[in-house]
């Protein structure tokens, strides 16, 4: 079933790229949305329970390397997969506009399918192949947007690509090291690896997450990409990083412990850094992009505690960030469609009076993002803070509490810059512009779905949390052979 769920979007995506102009844009987007919906349904049906690997497929692939085509979803990866598929559907729906190039829909499908491939790989080399597969299509999405031809877009896309590839090249060396020591690339077999491997793997995924100071590719790429590109980057691509870090902490428990303190501090610095950076932004998309660095900081701190709460916080935080940030970028995209810019001073104040529903959605997304209780963003941050407070298995108290203190400061900053953004855009005396226009049907559908998801996750966090609330000891079964770190 997993194979079908991956094959459908891949094949449809490739066909759309090949057929080029022979199908109209909206039609192609419709096909794409259907393909992604099919993948979503298949992945939802594949679930067999949190204690087993669901929908396992295990076929011989490259014997001499010990690599196998081993697919399956676990309690950790399932939420990621579903979120990715859902975002894929919404991105395709978003593209049901008159001026969409069918090839763009194809690229979106290939990117989403590759990300789902990463989340459902149980073999490290297979994971790596999927990880890289999405990069070149992403280059074209970033560089080929509405500002295409501009050297700036190309530079941003190339910087994104080179950063990621440098990370993933180190990751490859890390994988080789792990395979050398475990004699296998299979995650259900791997038990530990040397510290060098943990360093390389964490570095590789940290570029993607991104962890400060490896984040410099992010603001440009996110803000220049077309709307769906930004959504995919923020909601899906960053999750490849956090998912990889979670994997690293699970597969290499002992060596990960050596790296964890640095990771925690880097995450905390990222939170504060992004807070200050956001406060200085005028461009809404850049603001959202920088805010991602902060949100990922919380997830990184959670992962670095390697505790039960930390795992729950990391998974929940990742999924919630995917939904909320996608909503923010869609809202920003709507503004860009109307005003041709996302500069807050150019859009002017008083959106409440000019395009009420757009303003409401934006404000909703902003407060969800800053962590208002009852919405999705809240639980990830709260659990993260709790994980840091309880210190966890591998951190020392000074490190964990330093991270906690910085994170608390970061929450205040986050509130400050989102409130500033709300004041600059939504409130105030309306200054009407010709382009003022409220949400159309397509936007209502896409944003409505995300709003509902954010509310559901906020009110019933257990929908995700019950998957991982057993923590490292019970939940993450890679066929039971994984030995958790129990402090001994």
């Amino acid at each position: 079933m997993i194979v079908a769920a991956l094959a459908v979007p891949f094949v449809v995506g490739l066909l759309l790229m090949v057929t080029q102009a022979r199908v109209s844009g909206p039609y192609a987007a419709g096909i794409g949305a259907a393909a992604m919906a099919a993948a979503l349904v298949l992945y939802a049906l594949v679930w067999e329970g949190r204690d087993v690997v669901s929908g396992e497929v295990d076929v011989a692939w490259i014997d001499p390397l010990g690599a196998r085509l081993h697919l399956g979803v676990t309690a950790v990866s399932w939420p990621f997969v579903l979120m990715t598929a859902g975002i894929g559907v919404l991105c395709c729906l978003w593209l049901v506009a008159d001026d969409t190039a069918p090839a763009l829909v194809g690229l979106v499908l290939v990117i989403t399918a590759s990300a789902m491939g990463v989340f459902s790989s149980l073999d490290l080399l297979l994971l790596f192949v999927f990880f890289e597969l999405a990069l070149i299509p992403m280059w074209f999405v970033i560089a080929g947007g509405r500002d295409s031809g501009s050297g700036e877009a190309r530079r941003a896309a190339t910087r994104f690509l080179l950063f990621t590839v440098s990370g993933s090249a180190l990751l490859l060396v890390g994988i080789v090291l792990v395979a050398r020591d475990s004699g296998s690339l299979d995650m259900t077999v791997i038990a530990g690896g040397p510290v060098v491997a943990a360093v390389l793997i964490v570095l590789g995924f940290a570029v993607k997450t991104p962890v400060v100071p490896l984040h410099t590719w992010l603001p440009d790429a996110h803000s220049i990409a077309p709307t769906v590109g930004s959504v995919l980057l923020a909601a899906v691509f960053l999750k490849l990083g956090t998912y990889g870090l979670i994997l690293g902490s699970l597969l290499l428990p002992d060596s990960f412990a050596e790296v964890a303190p640095y990771l925690a501090i880097a995450g905390a610095i990222g939170i504060v850094w992004s807070g200050f950076a956001c406060y200085a932004q005028d461009d809404l998309k850049r603001l959202v992009a920088y805010s991602s660095v902060g949100h990922m900081g919380f997830v990184v701190i959670a992962i670095s505690t390697r505790s039960e709460v930390g795992l729950a916080a990391a998974v929940f935080g990742s999924v919630a960030h995917g939904i909320v940030t996608a909503l923010l970028f869609f809202a920003a995209g709507s503004m860009k469609d109307r005003y041709g810019t996302t500069s807050m001073s150019a859009i002017r104040r008083g959106l409440y009076g000019r395009a009420p529903w757009l303003a409401v959605v934006f404000v909703f997304a902003a407060v969800a993002s800053l962590g208002l209780p009852g919405l999705a963003g809240f639980w990830g941050e709260l659990l993260s803070l709790r994980a840091a407070y309880e210190v966890g298995v591998v951190l020392t108290r000074p490190v964990a509490w330093t991270a906690l203190g910085l994170a608390l400061l970061g929450i205040a900053l986050t509130t400050a810059y989102f409130v500033r953004a709300i004041r600059l855009l939504a409130q105030g005396e309306p200054t009407r512009q010709d382009a003022d226009r409220d949400l159309d049907r397509r936007e209502v559908v896409v944003m409505g779905a995300l709003v509902v998801a954010a509310v559901v996750l906020g009110l019933w966090p257990r929908t995700v949390l019950h998957l991982v609330d057993g923590g490292f000891d019970e939940t993450v079964t890679y066929h039971g052979s994984y030995q958790p770190l129990d402090g001994s």
């Binding site: 597969l133 490859l172 060396v173």
Partner: protein, 467 residues
């Protein structure tokens, strides 16, 4: 001194040599102007040599078998793809095929050589015809200059190697690989002399491989040679050099490991870095491939630094197989482009994958294979294969240098890919219905690409069957 002849090893080389001579004779008495007719003896001889090689194949000497096979397949590819030069009138086909096959038989001898004299003879047999091949283009001053550069560099490096060999002979009293290995295992030898002898011996092979600091001839030579000759040099000639190097290190010099291991590691690291940095500055596809082939030589050399780990010997051979195929596809595709459009500069290549997808997309795939980037999974797997022994041998620093170079490489490979996939400027280019000879070359490119795609879908095909 009697030299025993082992027909299992030399059979294919002799067949290729006979094919070369027959081709020359046929050309002398029945001069043909079409490349297809002129290339017929060469094609038959290469195929026959391949059949002979496979028929006599047994399990010992697996790396030699694999290397010979790579050389033969590469040569066949070059022979067939050279049809692109039909009616160009710049190169006489008879001589071309004679020189090509002579050189190829040298390559075959080189990988199966078992003593240093054979090695030197084979090295010269490989080099001299290929120098002539470079300078063969009539009335082309650049080609002559390139041939001169190549010639001088080649002669100097062979002389240095001879010096090393004579030192080795002086120390051990033998030139046979196995006995040399035994001789060097004695502990009463003067270390410094052995070290000098080993290093000097390796120089000639590193030169052929195009490793830093003996790489300077490559860009110049490739620029002057016709495209398929450059392809031949980058693929077959390099395969022979690598094969000979591996055999010498593995059989003759295992006891001098402390001397050459750090040297090979450092040379590998420097080669890939300098090659990649050079490629970054190119604005012509041929120049880019020339520099990238230097960088690839570094990747070929790196696992040799970990030769005595479990996969130390098979890894470079497997990487070589992928590299040779991808590089030949790229060169052949560029040869077609050069023939049809007259230039391989980046601005000429813009949008090739859209205007001429049957040439542009194979080129994209070959380049992605060289870069080691999905969807060309085989390229990525090959990178994994060469990093593995290096990590096994505990040279993590070298593995990290390799990782950084994968990234550096991608920077320029991707630039070319983006240019190929970009929207073409101006009006749509309609290629005139190509002549038969061009179609043959195109078919070769497509077959090679089909091979790469098949390997990407199922890398086991290569990894389980080559050593």
């Amino acid at each position: 001194m009697s030299i025993p002849v082992d027909w299992v090893q030399t059979g294919p080389a002799v067949i290729v040599m006979v094919g070369a001579v027959v081709g020359l004779m046929v050309d002398a008495f029945y001069p043909r102007r079409t490349w297809l007719g002129s290339g017929l003896p060469a094609t038959v001889a290469t195929v026959a040599a391949g059949v002979e090689l496979i028929a006599r194949h047994d399990d010992n000497g697996a790396p030699i078998f694999a290397l010979s096979l790579i050389v033969l397949v590469g040569t066949l590819f070059v022979v067939v793809a050279s049809n692109i030069m039909n009616f160009e009138n710049a190169i006489p086909p008879g001589e071309y095929h004679f020189l090509l096959l002579s050189s190829a038989s040298g390559a075959l001898l080189m990988v199966s050589a078992r003593d240093l004299v054979t090695l030197i003879v084979a090295l010269e047999l490989l080099s001299l015809p290929s120098i002539a091949l470079v300078g063969l283009r009539q009335g082309d001053r650049v080609a002559i200059r390139s041939a001169w550069t190549f010639f001088l560099a080649s002669v100097v490096s062979t002389a240095v190697t001879l010096m090393g060999i004579s030192l080795l002979y002086g120390i051990t009293g033998t030139l046979d690989y196995v006995r040399l290995g035994e001789g060097l295992s004695r502990s009463d030898l003067p270390d410094s002399v052995v070290a000098v002898a080993v290093v000097l011996t390796l120089v000639g092979l590193l030169f052929k491989l195009g490793a830093v600091p003996f790489h300077a001839w490559i860009p110049d030579t490739y620029a002057g040679a016709s495209v398929m000759v450059a392809g031949y040099l980058s693929a077959v000639s390099k395969a022979a050099a690598l094969g000979a190097l591996l055999m010498v290190l593995d059989v003759a010099l295992p006891y001098s490991r402390e001397t050459w291991q750090p040297l090979v590691a450092i040379v590998a690291a420097a080669t890939m870095t300098i090659g990649n940095l050079g490629a970054l500055r190119q604005s012509d596809a041929i120049g880019l491939l020339a520099w990238s082939s230097i960088a690839q030589a570094g990747f070929l050399l790196a696992p040799a630094a970990a030769l005595f780990t479990l996969h130390g010997l098979s890894a470079p051979v497997q990487y070589l197989a992928v590299y040779v195929l991808a590089n030949l596809v790229a060169f052949a595709a560029l040869a077609v482009v050069l023939r049809l459009r007259g230039s391989t500069r980046f601005d000429e290549l813009r949008g090739l994958a859209r205007t001429d997808p049957w040439m542009g997309l194979p080129l994209v795939f070959a380049i992605l294979t060289l870069a080691g980037f999905p969807p060309a999974v085989i390229g990525l797997v090959a990178k994994y294969v060469v990093i593995r022994p290096v990590v096994d041998g505990d040279d993590v620093w070298l593995a990290v240098v390799m990782a950084v170079n994968v990234m550096l490489g991608l920077a320029y490979y991707l630039r070319l890919v983006v240019i190929l996939l970009a929207r073409p400027e101006g009006e749509r280019y309609v290629s005139p219905s190509p002549p038969f000879s061009v179609r043959i070359a195109k078919t070769t490119v497509l077959l090679g690409t089909a091979g790469l795609i098949a390997l990407s879908a199922w890398p086991d095909l290569l990894l389980s069957h080559l050593p």
